[in-house]
């Protein structure tokens, strides 16, 4: 309270030159728009000035894939070799969990070793969960595995698990190594950080064709696509956490005589273990986000079940498979978190092998034992079809009932949003002159982060106009902008309420965890059934997905506010509302804004989904490129999306930094 007041007293109420610049830019926008400045080329980017980057990129990509020679072997042979290497662990796990192995014996006999039995795997995982000592987790694991077994999704789930486990492990390891590299060498940091921005914001369809050509249709390509998207958070978290290891810890390590390697692996990394788990969590969640796309290029499994069911509008069946994906994500995440939470036990004598691995031995014995017995008792090895049930029809009926009985209300709702929000904001965005927009964004950049940020904004935003994608980019920007706005005005209050009430908090957590891991395709189709093809449906789907960080960060930010400040405010006689408005919200604002930033990133990553609904934006551009086998065109559109994300992200971060230093929060963090 006192802090904020002080700041208001200190900062003089005069307009800074950088703010004046923003007003000049707005003036320029108006002048250009209404042709008071006769610069027609500044309004609509002239078609003759467009540099067809897509064409030359396509030629380059095709050259890379078909001809590029590295001396001893071609580039394609190189990537194919990596691909077959990646395939090995996945195919092995598949054999273990789903297909079994066929070995050729003598005399033309084929030896078939069956996959591990469902009963054995279930008991094994449950024992593992139980050994971690969390009863709720154990119950959850039991329910999850019985669910997938009895809705008849066992094989698909195991298929998905086989590729997920490998992808997550590789993602964690490479993320960790790249994070360390970025921490150690400034050059790596400079190269990797923008690369990660690209990897996380480029729509998958933009680079799908080149990846398929290079790595071959199959689990390897699916894994590459997944890793591109899911690995960067691990590296980022590692990099940031390492930078924040306290000097004392490092000092202590040095005094103890550690070598550089020991310092990293035995001192620094263990000390940031809890923070690294945030990265692990993100890798798992994002990997499962890619399950549908991955399934279409050879990973199969639950993703394909979702896709196939929803294409035939069997909503319930799709939802069942979607829920299985969510359960897999949560089980993997919670078990890994529990593992990490266990403190290493230090003993004087090394425990004997049998003691150390007693549990493991028992689990392996059960899994193998049941598999063998399963040969004579098939019920143990495979869930019989007659035992399985489906709730699919039930969900289908619910959607049908809503569709038939509530459509008038839904239509009214849609009409309202379309006429008063979507249509005006779309025509506003499309009417903006490109040059004026570039000037305006650059001026904002200058105000928040000085010259470097301003130059970055100018270059990246101009690029979009230069490659001739201005209009599509504006539609993307409008759509994502509206969604971020809605997600924020709905999500932030929910976050505030959930921060203040434990019970609501728990309910909200379950809902947002589900929203984050449920493949968006699962709710996309019902949304289209109820709201029709169009930008409104796209909006609903994007908001549902992108609202998660808005809630999470707000909740987190408000909980972070130091209790003594609230105590002080209360002592001064503030009401609850006053505490919220004058203390908690201002202090949590940096966190909330980071949440908004994440909402924006998620909104942009959903452009691919909105394109599937049928919006005419950058996402659609990548889809068209895919069907015209024009990889350069897709990559160009992808770069534009990444540029929008980078500019928006940098601007918000600069704003947060500025705001933090004004609040004097820098020292506290």
């Amino acid at each position: 309270m006192t802090e904020t007041k002080l700041i208001h007293a200190i900062s003089p109420p005069r307009i800074k030159p950088s703010i004046a610049l923003i007003f000049v830019a707005i003036l320029a926008v108006i002048l250009i728009k209404f042709q008071w400045l006769a610069l027609p080329w500044a309004n609509d980017y002239p078609g003759t000035w467009v540099i067809p980057l897509g064409d030359s990129l396509s030629v380059k990509i095709k050259w890379l894939v078909n001809e590029a020679d590295l001396g001893l072997f071609t580039f394609k042979e190189f990537t194919r070799a990596i691909g077959s290497l990646l395939n090995v662990p996945v195919l092995f796990l598949r054999g273990l969990l789903v297909t079994g192995f066929t070995v050729e014996g003598a005399h033309d006999a084929l030896l078939h070793i069956p996959p591990l039995s469902w009963l054995g795997i279930t008991i094994g995982i449950v024992l593992l969960a139980a050994s971690l000592g969390d009863r709720r987790l154990t119950v959850f694991v039991v329910i999850s595995f019985l669910y997938v077994a009895f809705v008849g999704l066992w094989e698909s789930t195991m298929l998905t698990l086989a590729s997920i486990i490998v992808a997550v492990l590789i993602g964690i390891i490479t993320g960790l190594l790249l994070g360390i590299a970025a921490f150690k060498w400034v050059v790596m940091d400079r190269v990797l950080m923008p690369a990660f921005d690209f990897m996380q914001t480029m729509p998958v369809f933009a680079y799908l064709v080149p990846v398929l050509m290079l790595f071959g249709y199959g689990p390897a390509a699916a894994m590459v696509v997944t890793l591109i998207y899911a690995m960067p958070p691990m590296a980022r978290v590692t990099r940031i956490s390492l930078a924040q290891v306290s000097g004392e810890t490092v000092e202590f390590g040095r005094i103890a005589g550690s070598s550089a390697r020991q310092l990293m692996w035995k001192v620094m990394l263990p000390s940031i273990r809890p923070r690294l788990m945030v990265g692990v969590n993100q890798v798992i969640m994002l990997t499962l986000n890619m399950v549908i796309i991955a399934s279409l290029i050879g990973a199969g499994g639950l993703g394909f079940d979702v896709w196939q069911a929803l294409k035939a509008l069997r909503i319930g069946q799709g939802a069942e498979a979607g829920i299985a994906i969510t359960l897999v994500a949560v089980v993997l995440d919670r078990i890994s978190q529990q593992f990490a939470a266990r403190r290493p036990v230090h003993r004087n004598t090394a425990p004997s092998f049998s003691k150390k691995y007693a549990l493991l031995t028992i689990i392996v014995a059960i899994v193998i034992g049941t598999t063998i017995i399963g040969h004579w008792v098939p019920v143990i090895s495979r869930v019989p079809d007659s035992w399985t049930f489906s709730t699919g029809k039930f969900w289908d009926n619910i959607i049908d009932w809503i569709n038939i009985n509530l459509y008038d209300y839904i239509d009214g709702f849609r009409r309202f949003f379309f006429i008063y929000l979507l249509k005006p904001s779309k025509s506003f965005m499309l009417s903006l002159p490109w040059l004026g927009t570039v000037l305006f964004i650059s001026a904002v950049g200058y105000h928040l982060g000085r010259l470097r940020l301003a130059i970055l904004c100018t270059v990246l935003i101009s690029f979009i106009a230069i490659v001739g994608l201005w209009e599509k980019a504006m539609i993307s920007a409008y759509l994502v902008g509206v969604c971020v706005f809605l997600a924020s005005i709905v999500g932030i209050p929910i976050g505030v309420i959930s921060a203040g009430n434990e019970r609501i908090h728990n309910i909200v957590q379950v809902i947002i965890d589900t929203l984050q891991t449920l493949p968006s395709f699962v709710y996309l189709i019902p949304v289209i059934m109820l709201f029709g093809v169009g930008e409104f449906s796209a909006m609903v789907a994007v908001v549902m997905y992108a609202i998660v960080p808005a809630i999470r960060y707000t909740d987190h930010g408000i909980r972070q506010v130091a209790p003594h400040l609230i105590e002080a405010a209360r002592a001064m006689g503030c009401t609850r509302m006053q505490i919220l408005r004058r203390v908690q919200l201002p202090l949590a604002l940096p966190d909330i804004m980071l949440g908004v930033n994440q909402t924006l990133m998620m909104g942009l990553s959903m452009l691919i989904i909105t394109a599937l609904v049928g919006t005419r934006d950058l996402g659609q551009e990548t889809l068209i490129a895919l069907s015209k086998v024009d990889p350069g065109r897709g990559v160009t559109a992808g770069i534009c999306v990444a540029f929008i994300a980078i500019v928006a992200g940098r601007l918000i971060n600069a704003w947060v930094q500025k705001h933090k230093s004004e609040l004097g929060l820098d020292a506290a963090h």
């Binding site: 050729e104 084929l110 078939h112 249709y217 050879g298 049998s354 031995t361 599937l612 015209k628």
Partner: protein, 323 residues
């Protein structure tokens, strides 16, 4: 104590494995040219799946190993071109012409002829739309203001909405709408899933709608409806403005029929010549295809079961393919 238990456990496992393994020996199949599995694309549509299952189960009869691989319609051609997949799900030249041309001209994908089903893709409506637009299926009914009004939605007001497929399917509807002076606006669904979701939901609440559809496909099989009848297609209609109702514009007619093209990886010809031969001979007529789709989508039979039933009932048809 622990040691003894462990010993017993290990012994049981070893013995069990040995037992299990010998018990699980199966006779090795007599494979014609190669034991490598033929990878057949499964796109996830009932009609296409049935065709692929029929082919796959037939070559299994010859002793080939078959692997059904899920893949996406457009993405599959990249996989087939590289030899990661072998037999593509049939490509429709009405919507995937660019991809097909690119694939066939690359030399990596063989054109194995068309399947023999003339595919029909055009404006389709559920029967009750006739109440709003009397005179259908004749296209002139769409000129009536009442009809336009009934078909309009908030996004297209005051025009009527025509719900089309993805832009990249390359429909020529804007041209046709202009040429025939229809008061319609094209709204493109971004994917087949979005298109069918909107269309089926509208049918269920009996909302008037005209949308892009095709045959053989599950929606026209499941819901009673008709295709709009345009002036008969003629090559001149697309090239010569003076042809047809509108003497100054092209596209004042219906669409040409298309075909479903069989495609396969070129490198496989040498590995499984007989299987490739069967794929070349493979044909199906539109009526049969319609019945098969009906069995799966209306009667709810599993697509593989539909395929197996057809194989069991039609030995006379496929016998010559295998010879």
């Amino acid at each position: 104590m622990l040691k003894i238990i462990r010993k017993i456990l290990i012994r049981t496992i070893i013995w069990g494995l040995a037992f299990g393994v010998t018990g699980m020996t199966v006779a090795k199949a007599d494979v014609p040219e190669s034991k490598d599995p033929v990878k057949i694309v499964m796109m996830g549509y009932s009609g296409d799946n049935i065709i692929m299952f029929i082919y796959g189960e037939l070559i299994k009869k010859l002793g080939y190993n078959v692997e059904y691989t899920p893949a996406d319609y457009i993405g599959q051609f990249t996989g087939v071109g590289a030899g990661d997949l072998h037999i593509a799900s049939p490509g429709w030249d009405t919507t995937a012409k660019a991809v097909l041309d690119e694939a066939f001209s690359s030399g990596n994908v063989l054109n194995m002829g068309n399947i023999g089903i003339a595919v029909n893709e055009d404006w389709w409506y559920p029967l009750y739309v006739k109440d709003y637009c009397p005179g259908l299926p004749d296209w002139k009914a769409l000129l009536e203001p009442d009809c336009v009004n009934a078909l309009s939605v908030v996004e297209t007001e005051p025009k009527a909405r025509f719900l089309s497929g993805p832009l990249e399917w390359g429909g020529t509807d804007p041209e046709r709408i202009a040429a025939l002076d229809l008061d319609f606006e094209v709204i493109n669904a971004g994917s087949d899933g979005a298109l069918s979701a909107d269309l089926v939901a509208a049918i269920k609440r009996k909302q008037p709608i005209i949308a892009w559809s095709w045959e053989p496909y599950w929606i026209p099989a499941l819901y009673p409806g008709e295709f709009v009848k345009w002036p008969e297609y003629d090559d001149a209609c697309y090239d010569d403005p003076s042809w047809g109702v509108n003497s100054s514009m092209t596209h004042d007619c219906g669409r040409p029929n298309g075909h479903m093209w069989k495609a396969a990886w070129a490198g496989g010809e040498k590995i499984w010549p007989k299987a490739y031969d069967v794929w070349r001979k493979f044909t199906l007529d539109a009526k049969t295809a319609g019945e098969l789709v009906f069995q799966s989508d209306v009667e709810g039979m599993d697509t593989k079961a539909v395929a197996q039933k057809w194989i069991a009932d039609n030995e006379s048809t496929w016998k010559s393919w295998l010879e």
